[in-house]
């Protein structure tokens, strides 16, 4: 059994994006977040990027903001974008976001993100002797290549995977297991190596090594980037799960790019790999089949994980516009699907 002590059991955020106050209770290791469009699912994943030290947290928010591709409105990628500005009472609008986390080792932590001109102050409460420590982060000192445990729906192949694979292929059994996982989506995939593509003619010395795939009964090789969304998605997810060992990973629209009859194998590999690496997952989806196979794989293939599974429905009150989260344990989730009750709203 690995270290799951820093997995979240409770999370609350105040003054973040559309949420004046939002909380999720009874969190498990595998959390599937569902809900209507524009209810704030992606914002919840972004809020879950909260961590210490301060510069890493702000760096993560900056990277997540870059995924939203709204640079025209926020020319400097300013994380002040995340501050709630929807309060009907202007006097209530604050310059502070708070994040409350309870962990499975029974510890608690409150982190504040404060904004003042170009400086971001991060206060952490809950550190030993209950004092509050402050640190400051300037928005210009951001490293966009730093690992951010948040996978947007469109992210598949990218150069950062080379770095990951160069580490992984040093261990033969780890690499073998990784290939086996990818066979869930591409059964004929035989090997992946980091090298110059076979089609490279040698005249361009700026070309960089790429991930090259060998397939059964085919002599020529192909760059991984030429494969479909499913394999790229799975490669990305498995890589990020291994990279975030012992912590948490947020995945937006996990079903994107996966063919419906691959879902069972897909879920089996993702959940088992996360279990093996003690990674707490927060995943969003709209897809009914994705949800159905999530249940099925836990019933048929991974019953031991049922106790760690939660389905969290985000719902907006029609009158007040307040968003609340409702957590199903596996028994309730299974029952809802069995009798035809809608878990997504």
């Amino acid at each position: 059994m690995g270290d799951t002590s820093k997995h979240l059991t409770y999370f609350k955020v105040e003054n973040f994006k559309r949420f004046e106050s939002f909380e999720m209770r009874d969190l498990g290791q595998f959390n599937l977040i569902v809900g209507d469009n524009n209810v704030g699912k992606t914002s919840v994943l972004e809020a879950l990027l909260v961590c210490e030290p301060a510069w890493v947290f702000v760096n993560r928010l900056f990277v997540a903001l870059s995924y939203r591709k709204i640079k025209k409105q926020f020319a400097y990628g300013d994380v002040e974008f995340y501050l709630n500005k929807t309060s009907s009472d202007n006097n209530k609008i604050q310059n502070k976001i708070s994040f409350d986390s309870h962990f499975s080792d029974a510890t608690k932590q409150t982190i504040f993100l404060e904004f003042e001109n170009d400086k971001r102050y991060i206060a952490v409460r809950g550190i030993p002797n209950d004092s509050t420590g402050y640190s400051m982060h300037d928005r210009v000192s951001v490293n966009t290549f730093f690992n951010t445990p948040f996978i947007p729906f469109f992210k598949g192949h990218d150069q950062d995977l080379n770095q990951f694979y160069s580490q992984l292929q040093k261990n033969r059994s780890q690499k073998k297991n990784f290939i086996k996982c990818l066979n869930t989506i591409v059964p004929d995939l035989e090997d992946i190596e980091l090298s110059i593509p076979a089609s490279f003619n040698g005249y361009n010395d700026t070309i960089e090594p790429a991930l090259i795939v060998s397939q059964k009964n085919i002599d020529s090789t192909l760059p991984l980037a030429m494969f479909g969304d499913g394999i790229l998605k799975l490669f990305r997810l498995l890589a990020e799960i291994v990279l975030n060992n012992g912590t948490r990973l947020m995945i937006d629209e996990i079903d994107t790019g996966i063919y419906f009859n691959r879902f069972r194998g897909f879920w089996k590999v993702i959940l088992q790999t996360a279990k093996d690496n003690d990674v707490q997952l927060f995943m969003t989806t709209h897809n009914e089949e994705c949800i159905k196979y999530f249940k099925e794989v836990l019933e048929m293939d991974l019953p031991d994980l049922q106790k760690d599974v939660r389905s969290i429905t985000l719902v907006e009150n029609k009158k007040t516009k307040l968003v609340t989260a409702h957590t199903y344990n596996f028994e309730q989730f299974e029952h809802a699907l069995a009798v035809g009750n809608e878990v997504r709203a």
Binding site: T313, N317, T327, Q332, H335, A336, V339, G340, N341, E342
Partner: protein, 184 residues
């Protein structure tokens, strides 16, 4: 309780010409002991600003004691039922089946004599492991006796055929009056 849900949808369709989507219904099972399985779904509905209307069988209990039981469960599970209707008519003992039995199309009642005879005959045969024919089963044998009735299985029944069920029966008035408050 799937049959309750289907019957309510049919009644809404028949009475108010409204097709209400399945997603607006919450199936909670037929026993108060299993309501906890739908606890989160009911709470979600409340949070979204919807009105929760509970339709349940009174069964052998009197109306008041069933309501007391429902209210206790409501409190125990932090639920909110805005309105409650107990089959058959929100005042008598009974269930959906007793409501339906009073709603068979006029002239078809005599079919129940045949079903009773069949049940008695079957009992007399002393079969090994016979499937018992209770009051509910008799009703569904009736339903399945007609062409295009859907299947006699609860999940596939079609209630709108006036040759099988009289949806204008006076026994249905309390249910319709109740539903009218929300859908009329």
């Amino acid at each position: 309780m799937k049959k309750t849900l289907d019957f309510c949808r049919t009644s809404l369709n028949f009475t108010f010409r409204k097709k209400v989507g399945r997603s607006l219904f919450i199936e909670i099972g037929g026993k108060s002991e299993t309501i906890h399985l739908s606890q989160v779904k009911i709470q979600t509905s409340t949070s979204s600003g919807r009105i929760n209307v509970l339709v349940f069988d009174a069964d052998d209990n009197d109306h008041k004691s069933t309501l007391t039981k429902v209210n206790a469960k409501e409190k125990e599970l932090s639920l909110k039922f805005d309105k409650v209707f107990l089959f058959p008519d929100d005042k008598s003992q009974g269930n959906l089946e007793s409501l339906l039995k009073s709603s068979v199309t006029s002239g078809n009642e005599k079919l129940f004599a045949c079903i009773e005879a069949y049940a008695s005959c079957k009992t007399a045969l002393n079969l090994k492991n016979p499937r018992p024919i209770d009051e509910k089963e008799k009703l569904w044998i009736y339903h399945g006796s007609f062409e295009n009735s859907g299947n006699s299985h609860a999940t596939k029944r079609i209630y709108l055929d006036p040759g099988i069920w009289d949806l204008n029966s006076p026994i249905l008035i309390p249910l319709k009056d109740f539903l009218r408050k929300f859908f009329g």
